[in-house]
Amino acid sequence: MKAAIYVILVVLAAIAPFFIPEAFVYILGLSFLFIILVVSWDVMVGYTGQVNLGHTVFVGVGAYTAALLQSPVRLQHLLGFTIPKVPIFISIISGGIIAALIGFFIGIITLRLKGYYFALVTAILPLVFMQTVFVWRKVFGGEEGFSIGLENSLSNTILGKYYIALIIMVICVLSMLFIVKSQIGLKFKAIREDEELAESIGIDTTKYKVIAFIVSSFFAGIGGAAIIHYRITVSPDLYDIPLMLLIILSAVIGGLGTIYGPVFGAFIIYLAKNWWLKEILSNLLKIAPIPINDDMILYLMLIVVGILMPQGIYVELKKRSWIAKKSNSSI
């Protein structure tokens, strides 16, 4: 039943461009890629329960890998020798692979830590990677990043980009769905529910946490790389905190631990940020000039949702007795 709904939605997405102005088709395509970022975060956070606050590291690594593979001059500064430009498909996959490699290394070091230590240490990591962009600006382009040239775009037309983005998203989401619904996914959920219990029945929790982390980082890298080929420019905003918060907001609103939830959440939040909110706000501001902008509203939403439902909307609503769920908090 759920599957049927989603098939219909994909079909709708496929025919949407015929009814929408081009500028919005562009944004819609980017929202698909954003969905990949959020779903990949859910694989880690929603399924194993380990909160990774540095997800943007992988997005950025995937992005810069792809961008560098398309910029032989910059790559030469980094490696010392030249590699000719690679086809787009390889570029994107490489983004995923390098991100996964980094995920592996970070994982084996940090996933030994319990609970919020992991969250905190991963929170610093994006900052370090951002610094690499500034410090080695001949390679990475500094604050404003660089462009990879229109020739390296996913497609020459916005319509083409849109469909390719859609296809990439569907493939990634289906892959992740497949993984979490498999035996491996079961082990993830066991870790999430009760890590000690999982250990005691013989699950190597660290090993599975690292596997989840690798999956999560791989797809985040793919997402980042695809974004680069879509919008042609790369810049450190892909490492930055606002993106992380956007991902968190999307996942929490959609509902952690479901894959479907974050798809919805990501779609709605991304469009809100880049389309609807601006419209509503500019009309509102014409009436009353209050100091508020679209980012502020999104943060406010995150705060309110976070306070009311610290475990994520989907989990709360699913249990239906969400008043009982709040027994932990004291108001």
Binding site: R112, K114, A119, L120, I241, I248, G306, I307
Partner: protein
Amino acid sequence: MIELVLKIIVFGAVVSGIWALVASGFSLIFGVARILNFAHGTLFVLSAYFGIVLVKNIGVNNYLAFILGILFVGIVGVIVFKLTISPIKTHEVMVVIVTLAIALLVEQFLLLIFGEHGISFPSLVGGIQNIGGIKITNIRILSLIIAIATLILLEFFITKTKTGKMITATSQDMEAAMLMGIDVDRIYLITMFISSILAGLGGLLYSQIFATTPIVSVKALIYAFAIVILGGLGSLRGSIIASFIVGYVIVVTITFLGARWSEFVMLLTIISILVVKPTGLFGVEE
């Protein structure tokens, strides 16, 4: 050569003092209530903005504005705690996310009102000292003195006064403290107040030596957070030592590698130490 070493020692000390104030505030509220207040950096800049508005727009005397700025931020901290953190304080990670969202929300708000370019709080003291050939501004020396004095006072308060001992008890075992009749909620509020005024004090001092911009709230948060992690969560002494380590790493990097490397090397140092000892230098294992 001696002069260079001397310069590094002096510069490092004055840079670290302010960060020690901020980091200890962050560490305190964590140690007592297990709360990672990612809006700590916001409190850092709010005191400066409030103070500057008082001085420039309302014409309040500098010294009075300084004190009012600190008090204002203490109150803001308590309000934020009561409204947003207290309800969810058992979900540590959500606290991080919510306070981070608050931090960015306020940053956007300040950007809209004040813009991105910095403003400074008028210096409480002007002039410079010439120490062994090195020129140090008086305000830096004053900041260091204030920072150290405050930390010593804090130490005294926590170990010697009744409230301080209640705070220590709560941080060690909250349930036991409750059983002994300590009003834990009130302790949380007091701790939050102290934590906030530490941040506010640091921010007002920072604003006189440098300049305050909305982005500084994120920078202060990163420094406070990184220092506390380095020193070890839950260890006040660790945070103070870590701030001096960080301050010196920055100054040494600027001296030998160049200004552009300072933040990178600092973060790298912290990560390296964490890889070896994930709970930080003086971390308390739960």
